[in-house]
Structures are given as structure tokens and as C-alpha cells.
């Protein structure tokens, strides 16, 4: 998991413009609301890029711009080598977009929905029939293929929406909160499917706030806050698995005893829930350790020092940490 440096992106590598997504300085306002206030982003082919941000940070708006549905007020956009504004159909032919709430035609069966979209993308009938069968199998809806979409559950509809976005074999995939409403099994499936699609050389951009999910499936991450791409404060907390430093979540029966011991031992710590007031009872902190060996040493010394330890485990994902260090609040 690496956090992209927006500035470095803006400099541009140029190699990804053909098949990937390049966004530079994109702005978009809805009346008085500045939904996008300068987004720089680069998603490369062959990778899953996570779009992370609190509610109202402009994720959906950005994906709408990329899908060619909204005109940006300013900035440059290139999707699979085409500008969605000036070359809309060419860009849309290569883009698969899945909205966060996929509505469906209640009276149509799942297969008919996909057939309609194959027709709408002007695909040849015969090969698209075969592909639709494959897609239904991929999203595990084969047994629902000929039932009206109105009987599908929310998660099943979500999977149908994913199949719909894939009907025309797009080079670029834009998924808005695809994991919401999915059961754990389907989430694993989704993760594997996205992995495979990326491995086939596609560009996959996923927005979500299920951060642990994103972390497991994404190669890059872009953070949005108040319509801007932001580089999270990585001075503490966000670490890459590679560099040996890890954050551990340590809990004890007595928070003061734990923090006192950590202070005495000279270990840097921070509260695990900075938004709540410190307690005198049980509680936990986040501690930076030097790999698993550092963690083992910490636990051994703390127990020896008489701290009533309850648990010590690797802290929640780096993405979540980064997310929480974003200065801006949700709106």
C-alpha cells in the first residue's frame, strides 16, 4: 500500500495516459457548493486505485466527471486516452461505471438487463450472449438470470450492477462504493474479481469507505477531502508494510498504568480514539514498534513491568489511519 504523492502525479509520467486515468486540477461546483476544488489523480492500468474520502468529499462527483456524465468547470481529464467532455462516446465506450445505488428495471430479468445494455453498447448479438452468461456466472447470479430483478436483494442488485458495468469489456472501471450492501463472501469475490481485472491490464478506480476492504484490494490510494486530493499527514501512523515500522494497538485494564509505563520506557504512543476523552479505566493506545520483533519485546517488557495488558495486535489498516489523520471533517 503506497500513498500517492499528488505533486509527483501532477508532474505526470505520460506512460499511463493511453489506458489509465489522468485528472489534473479538476473543479466542479453545484451552485454554491464546491464539490470538486482541484483534484489531481492518476490511476495506472493494471492496478486497483482506491478513492478514499469522507462523505461529501466529492468522490461520487469525481466519478461522474470521469464517466462523462458531468462537465467539469475546469481542469483536464483523460480516461483511456480520451477526454470525456470532447470525445464522450469514445471515452464511454471504454469506461465501465457503476453508480453507488444501482437502480434497475423491476420487470426485467437479470439477463434482460444485461442484454439491453449489450444492445445499448452496440455489441454484436451472438458474442454478447455468451459474455452475458459468463458475467452472470462471475457475479453468481446464474440461478437468478431469468427472474425479475425486483426479487433481487440489495447485494444481488449490486452484483448485477457490477456485471452491467462490465458488459462491454471496458478498459477503465469506475466503481462507486461497490462493496456496500455486499455480504462478506461477495466482498471477497469482488476483491478477487477486481484483482483479476487489474491483472488483465485494466484500470480500476474504486471509491469506498470500507477501508479495510479497500486496503486489501488496492495498490494505490488517493485521498479526497473537501473536493481536493490531499496527502495525508504520514509523520506518524501511516506506514508501509515494507519499512519495518508497524503500528500496534495495545490495550490494558488500566490506561493510566499503560501510558505511564510507556512514558517511562520512552516509547512514543498516541491515543487510539483521539476523539474521545481519556479514561482512567481500561483503554488502549497506538504504539510504533519495529516489526514483529519490536512488538514481542514491547509485550514482554510491559508484562514484566506489571502493566495489566489485555491485548496487543497490529493496528487497523494503514488506509484507515491515513483517513483518520485527514484534517478536514466530514460534512
Amino acid at each position: 500500500m503506497t500513498t500517492q504523492d499528488a505533486a509527483a502525479e501532477a508532474a505526470g509520467s505520460g506512460t499511463t495516459t493511453d489506458d489509465g486515468i489522468v485528472v489534473r486540477g479538476v473543479t466542479r461546483a453545484f451552485g454554491a457548493v464546491q464539490a470538486l476544488a482541484g483534484v489531481d489523480l492518476e490511476a495506472r492500468p493494471g492496478a486497483v486505485t482506491a478513492l478514499v474520502g469522507p462523505n461529501g468529499s466529492g468522490k461520487t462527483t469525481l466519478l461522474l466527471v470521469l464517466a462523462g456524465l458531468l462537465t467539469p468547470d475546469g481542469g483536464e481529464v483523460s480516461v483511456a486516452g480520451h477526454d470525456p467532455v470532447t470525445a464522450g462516446p469514445a471515452a464511454r465506450a471504454r469506461t465501465g461505471w457503476m453508480p453507488d445505488a444501482f437502480g434497475t428495471w423491476d420487470s426485467l430479468t437479470a439477463r434482460e438487463v444485461l442484454t439491453t445494455f449489450a444492445d445499448a453498447y452496440r455489441l454484436d448479438r451472438a458474442p454478447s450472449r455468451r459474455r452475458i452468461d459468463e458475467l452472470l456466472a462471475t457475479v453468481h447470479l446464474t440461478e437468478y438470470a431469468d427472474r425479475p430483478a425486483s426479487v433481487l436483494s440489495r447485494g444481488q442488485k449490486q452484483r448485477l450492477g457490477l456485471a452491467r458495468a462490465l458488459v462491454h469489456d471496458p478498459q477503465v472501471l469506475l466503481l462507486d462504493e461497490p462493496a456496500s450492501g455486499l455480504d462478506p463472501r461477495s466482498r471477497v469475490d469482488l476483491r478477487q474479481l477486481l484483482r483479476r481485472l487489474a491483472d488483465e491490464g485494466r484500470t480500476v478506480l474504486v471509491s469506498s469507505h470500507v477501508l479495510t476492504e479497500l486496503e486489501e484490494m488496492s495498490d494505490d490510494a488517493v485521498f479526497l477531502s473537501r473536493g481536493r486530493t490531499v496527502v495525508p499527514d504520514t509523520s506518524h501512523g501511516v506506514t508501509s508494510p515494507g519499512d519495518g515500522r508497524r503500528t500496534f494497538h495495545v490495550r490494558a485494564l488500566s490506561l493510566p498504568a499503560l501510558t505511564a509505563w510507556l512514558d517511562a520506557a520512552g516509547a512514543a504512543w498516541r491515543p487510539d480514539e483521539p476523539w474521545t476523552a481519556p479514561t482512567t479505566g481500561p483503554g488502549g493506545v497506538l504504539v510504533e514498534v519495529n516489526g514483529d520483533e519490536g512488538a514481542a519485546a514491547l509485550i514482554r517488557d510491559a508484562v514484566a513491568g506489571g502493566v495489566p495488558l489485555v491485548s496487543a495486535a497490529p493496528a487497523a489498516g494503514a488506509l484507515e489511519r491515513a483517513y483518520l489523520t485527514l484534517e478536514e471533517e466530514r460534512r
Partner: protein, 366 residues
């Protein structure tokens, strides 16, 4: 996780001329088939069609029975009245039903979250709009088709020529197409489905009720006293019998309806009456009993207005000149209705065009 080969498949090819107004039959059919499938499968639709059949059939029989009770005279007179009644019934009910078919097709889809997914495909805005109009129109034509037996029955009773049935069906179908276009336009303009349905109904009501009302309200303002030419008859001083006609100039109060006749022409019922062409094969006595013919003559006279000479030379054989008002009115009315429908269609295509700059207030794309 089932592993499925996802390569080797059809590639979406954008059309060669991807303008917003580019239309292919494939694209229109795709949208229309989608809309019709979605509509026709709901049981509500079947219920509505059956209810329609029963209502039109029942009213036809009722009117027919009532007419034969009132006047057990000539079938031929009764027939003209019955045909007019059924024609107006079919048109009136069609104008009631059609606004609900088209007026939610865009904002309803937006609310259901299905519009944007369709827009991002390679369908052009014109194809989406045309497909939706076609579907709504086809549905309203199904209602029209269900009433053809009763129109046929009414024509069979009396002097109405068979081609009048054909003209009525075609005219109603075209008028309903125009209403579909207006409904589509409103559904593209207004965020809420209820709002666009109301606006479509208001427009139809303005055409049906508003135009004669306005004609009536403006009547006093076109009425004035002025010197006009009047053909009067000279009577023989001895016998008192009329002998010759003479042109005189008199002060008369006349209504210049030639300035306001177009208000009546916009009315779908006037378009029907004028376009049905029932009276042309009737003799004078029959024509007086044909409401369609009477309406048509009335509106044509209103169009002539006060521009012609007033003829009061009744007594002289062959002296009175029948007012000639042969120019048909229905092409004007139908044309304006179609223009309104076309305007709705153009609005819809513009609103469906991607990418969107301004959004209607209170709507999200997705």
C-alpha cells in the same frame, strides 16, 4: 470464486458520427423495447387496457341506446351523432391517459436511478428520447386500437363513410404522439414525476378547455359596430314577394373572429371534427345532425369572420350565396400540436445530452 475467461469478447465501437442527434433504428428499438417490457409486464397495464375497453364499449352502447330511445327516426341521423360521440369519447379518454404514459419517463427513470446508466452507454440522447416517445406512443395507441371496434360500430350504424374511421384513428394517433412529446419534454425539465404529470395535464387542458374559453372571453373585444356590406332582397311592391337581391352598406355589429379563430383551431376536438371529414357525403338534413360537421362549419365560419359580405337574400331562388369556407382548418391545429410535441422532444434531447453542465434544481446525476 469461479474463474471465468473474460477476454475474447465483443468490443464496444462508438458510432462513426456520434452527434447528439444521431439516430439509429437499433438504438431507438433498444430503448423502446426496454420501456415497453418494463411497462407491459406490470399487471396495472393489463387492468388499464381492459378497463378502457369496458368503459368505451359501455359508453358506446349506452349512447347508442339513449339515442334510439330519444329519436326512433332515421338510423342515418342517429349514426352521425353516435359516431361523433364515440370519436370525442376516444379522443377525450386518450388525452386523459396519454399524459400519464409519457410524463414520467425521464424524471421517473432518474428517480429510480436507471437513467444515468443508460446515458453512459453509446446510445445518443436522441435515441433515448425517441425510444421513450415511441414506447409511450405505442402504449397509447394500444388504447386507441382497443376502441376501433366501437368506432367501426358507430360508423356501421349510420351514414359515416368508412374512411372517416380511418381518418379519426390516424388523427387521434398523431394528436396523442404530440401529447407524448409534450410529456417527455416536461419529464426532462421538471425534477419530480408528479410535477411533470401535472404540467402535461395542464397543457392538454389548456388546449382542450382553455382555447374555447379564451375564444369566448375575447369575443366581445373583436365585436364592433361598423359599416358592412349586406345583400338584402327587394320585394315586389304589389305582391310582397322577393324579387331581386341588392348589395347595400349598413351599420352592423359584427364579430371579427377571423382574428381569433386560430384559438379554436388549436383545440384537438376541433382538429378531430374538421379532419374527420364526415359531412362531405351527407345531404343537408343529415349534416345538421352531424355534430362533427356542425362544429367544423362553425369554426370555418369563425375563420371567415366578418370579412365576407352578410347575405340576407333568402327569398330569391338561387340568390343566396352559401358561405364558402372550404379551406380545411385541421392542418393548422394539428401542426401546432405537433410543434409543441416536437419542442418537448427537443428539450428532452438537450437535457439528456452528456456531459451535463447545469443540473435541474434538486437533482443528482446518480
Amino acid at each position: 470464486m469461479t474463474t471465468v475467461e473474460l477476454d475474447e469478447h465483443p468490443v464496444a465501437v462508438p458510432p462513426a458520427h456520434p452527434g447528439h442527434w444521431h439516430v439509429t433504428w437499433h438504438g431507438v428499438r433498444t430503448v423502446a423495447a426496454l420501456e415497453l417490457r418494463q411497462r407491459v409486464r406490470s399487471t396495472r397495464w393489463v387492468v388499464a387496457l381492459v378497463a378502457w375497453f369496458v368503459v368505451v364499449g359501455g359508453l358506446t352502447l349506452l349512447i347508442s341506446g339513449a339515442l334510439s330511445a330519444v329519436d326512433d327516426g332515421a338510423d342515418r341521423q342517429r349514426g352521425a351523432l353516435l359516431f361523433a360521440a364515440v370519436t370525442f369519447l376516444v379522443l377525450g379518454l386518450g388525452l386523459l391517459v396519454t399524459p400519464t404514459l409519457a410524463s414520467t419517463s425521464i424524471n421517473g427513470d432518474r428517480a429510480a436511478g436507471t437513467l444515468a446508466t443508460l446515458q453512459v452507454t453509446l446510445l445518443t440522447p436522441a435515441e433515448i428520447a425517441l425510444g421513450k416517445v415511441l414506447a409511450a406512443w405505442t402504449a397509447s395507441c394500444a388504447f386507441l386500437l382497443a376502441s376501433v371496434p366501437f368506432l367501426g360500430f358507430a360508423a356501421a350504424v349510420g351514414p359515416t363513410p368508412w374512411w372517416s374511421v380511418l381518418r379519426v384513428v390516424v388523427l387521434v394517433a398523431v394528436l396523442l404522439a404530440a401529447v407524448c412529446g409534450m410529456g417527455l419534454g416536461f419529464s426532462a425539465l421538471v425534477a419530480r414525476p408528479a410535477g411533470s404529470t401535472v404540467l402535461t395535464f395542464v397543457t392538454v387542458a389548456a388546449l382542450v378547455l382553455g382555447t374555447p374559453l379564451l375564444f369566448g372571453v375575447t369575443y366581445p373585444s373583436v365585436e364592433q359596430t361598423e359599416s358592412v356590406q349586406v345583400r338584402v332582397q327587394r320585394t315586389d311592391d304589389v305582391t310582397g314577394n322577393p324579387t331581386t337581391c341588392e348589395l347595400t352598406t349598413q351599420q352592423r355589429s359584427v364579430a371579427h373572429t377571423e382574428r381569433t379563430w386560430w384559438l379554436l383551431a388549436l383545440n384537438p376536438f376541433v382538429v378531430m371534427a374538421d379532419g374527420a371529414g364526415t359531412s362531405s357525403s351527407l345531404d343537408q338534413a343529415e349534416a345538421r345532425n352531424d355534430p362533427l360537421g356542425v362544429l367544423r362549419e362553425g369554426v370555418r365560419l369563425a375563420r371567415t369572420g366578418a370579412s365576407a359580405t352578410i347575405d340576407e337574400c333568402w327569398g330569391v331562388d338561387g340568390g343566396r350565396v352559401e358561405p364558402t369556407a372550404d379551406a380545411p382548418i385541421w392542418p393548422w391545429g394539428l401542426g401546432v400540436n405537433l410543434l409543441l410535441g416536437a419542442a418537448g422532444f427537443v428539450v428532452a434531447v438537450r437535457r439528456l445530452s452528456l456531459p451535463q453542465g447545469k443540473l435541474a434544481r434538486g437533482t443528482r446525476v446518480a
